[in-house]
Chain length 411, copies 2
């Protein structure tokens, strides 16, 4: 597999003002096309830093993709540094000059000397035309390696990568195929999962299948990859997947680009069923997640956030006697909340959450102790969970646990 290095130029990346989404986007695209990103680096807007990164990269990999430092003002730093390194003159590219002039004229803007300079490009590079802006890309071939420089503006860079750079790299390096399969799990921690599948994981080696664990609060993604992607390899990966599903059972909620939200949404739509939510300690997070996805109005009706105890009675008809007897964080109240919101919203399904997000304990229940209720057309029940000490994490974990409880019920 051919190796690439990403060099992202920009002080804003180093001081954390901008999150480096370019590196993630390029990594994902290259990987899908069988080019392995061996390393990605963010460096300062300085010729010495650019030169040093370039020299190191040329010793390590075959493809070097550079973003940033091509705007018309402070920079040309990248362009001048590359021209000097490859021992080339900057010459006017007539096609770029004409297109940039037209670009400014079409917007009624003056075409300044700084803009003219953008048409000066190293004499020996292949110019990558920018259909979305005025800074051209540059492609250099050097001792069988390829160096590409692109602007840092994400959608300009993405256009160049998709239209020209990736196809030309795949052709030049005769890239093999790489195939990934990601199995998404929830409800079981990383170490338990690892323990449960230890023997299976060992068996991957003989088929040259690489496994990665990708954990986030309440979830673990397991990603299998094969390089090459022969029919035999793909068949081996399919077999391993079946074995894995057998080992993991209903902790698996989906595959690849699925999310817990999209999986639940899809199933509710299949059933033609609606959902409402009564949230106490999650404080609106479940509703927020459900409505973050376009099209949620097809199955999500809404719900209530009963942060104050009184509202559980006012809005959900939870009997105050029940709260007095069992406490707000109890099986009985979770069930009554789910039933209450289901009736009030006239939905088919209803989830409820009541618990101790933290930082303080409540009614003698520890931080992270949470009851989740589910009311369906057939039954109402509740389940308790003990999460951790972080308020933010408890809210996240309870959100995914609630949606997972619903998923298991409706699938």
């Amino acid at each position: 597999m051919v190796n690439a290095k990403l060099i992202c130029i920009g002080d804003e990346l180093l001081i954390g003002q901008t999150i480096n989404t370019n590196a993630a986007w390029m990594g994902s695209e290259l990987n899908q096309h069988g080019i392995r990103v061996a390393e990605s680096i963010a460096i300062a807007d300085q010729p010495a830093a650019i030169l040093s990164a370039l020299e190191n990269a040329l010793e390590e990999v075959s493809i070097i993709l550079i973003t940033g430092g091509l705007g018309p003002t402070k920079d040309d730093l990248t362009k001048h540094t590359l021209a000097a390194f490859f021992n080339q003159e900057l010459v006017i590219n007539d096609e770029v000059m004409a297109r940039n002039r037209a670009y400014f004229e079409s917007r009624g803007l003056p075409f300044l000397e700084t803009n003219e300079k953008q048409a000066e490009l190293p004499s020996g590079c292949r110019v990558i035309h920018n259909m979305r802006g005025t800074a051209s890309g540059m492609r250099f071939e050097w001792r069988g390696k390829v160096v590409v420089s692109m602007p840092g503006v994400p959608y300009e860079m993405q256009g160049m990568m998709t239209d020209e750079i990736i196809p030309s790299l795949c052709q030049y390096f005769k890239c093999p195929r790489i195939v990934h399969r990601t199995i998404l799990t929830t409800g079981v921690g990383e170490s338990f999962l690892a323990d449960r599948i230890a023997a299976w994981e060992e068996s991957l080696q003989k088929d040259s299948i690489h496994l990665a664990y990708l954990p986030s609060p309440g979830m673990v993604k397991l990603r299998m990859s094969v390089y090459g992607g022969s029919d035999a390899q793909l068949e081996a990966m399919r077999q391993r997947e079946l074995e894995l599903l057998g080992l993991l059972g209903d902790t698996v909620y989906g595959f690849d680009e699925d999310t817990l939200i999209t999986v639940v949404a899809k199933r509710l739509k299949e059933l033609g069923a609606t959902l409402s939510v009564a949230e106490s300690c999650t404080g609106g997070r479940i509703s927020h997640e459900l409505t973050s996805v376009a099209g949620s109005s097809a199955y999500f009706l809404g719900g209530v956030v009963t942060y104050h105890e009184q509202l559980k009675s006012n809005l959900l008809d939870v009997d105050p006697q029940l709260i007095a007897e069992h406490g707000v964080v109890s099986r009985e109240v979770a069930a009554a909340m789910a039933e209450g919101v289901r009736k009030t919203c006239r939905s088919d399904y209803a989830l409820s959450v009541t618990g101790v997000a933290g930082p303080d304990a409540l009614e003698g229940k520890p931080v992270g102790y949470i009851w989740i209720g589910l009311s369906t057309p057939d039954r109402t029940f509740a389940q308790d969970f003990q999460f951790g000490r972080s308020r933010q994490n408890n809210i996240s974990m309870a959100t995914w646990a609630a949606l997972n409880l619903l998923r298991k019920e409706i699938l």
Copy 2:
């Protein structure tokens, strides 16, 4: 200024499955404490890659901060690689073992052999205790340089950085003082803001005050910084701040670590007043933001998410005739929602949001068109906003605009 390099370990970063937010967070924090991030690098979960990155970094900078590769599973290799590099044995740390065992026991979970292994740490490192998870951090001193390894889980890494690593680095390297003052604004775009304060910004130079614009959806933070922090510099910065406040008026909602939530929360607590929220297109996001902050139960009672039109009438007593006449996205319905939720929840103040988050237009109203209602003990009114085309952004912008409307009313 002392130089640092960030080494972020994880295949998921290179294949773009995870965006490297850790690098941005660390860059921002270090920068604020006078440590310059010279370079940030993402590498594979491989001993050779870790070793090579570490060796290069030790030639270039004084501080090396490593994240990732410390979980209990098999793709986590950082600990072994570091132990080998520094020529140290892995030995059981009794304190870590006891804490991790307690961590599992408190959750009623079995303590497995893979978990025990997490208590094995290099004999010569200073252990950085992880109060939010089970993977400990490690701090090595080597020829006057410092190498720190942390887990890749953001909130675990952030806790270690804030509690222990940054203070110890500042002390070890005698970092110069940097004083920042951040003025927080909302409701005015970055370019308008820049235009309004252009002359003021020019005047900062003579006092060697550096200014940074930090924009995010709906907000712009203006951060002034002085290096050294003499009394004269601090006095100059105070003067500039007063001038700036005069220029910006009520677009300024707070300073430094304030958020729109904490500012509103503080004022509601001062007033001894309570708040409820009725959300349509924001779908629970406002409630979620309010309850993300501990102590919100002192002023936030709860509310309703009336995603489906019917619930506006069921839960908030909005007259169906009003909806039929003016449409759900209207001044009248926003006001009725705010009034309705204020009555139902018996709160002093109530916010409401009804609008078109997108991607599709609604009732002839364009995507991004949103009404926000506010009901107070004295009056009820609503204001309309036209945001952009992105659903996610519209939800964010409407959330901050609603809280800002409340802020301006109660201050």
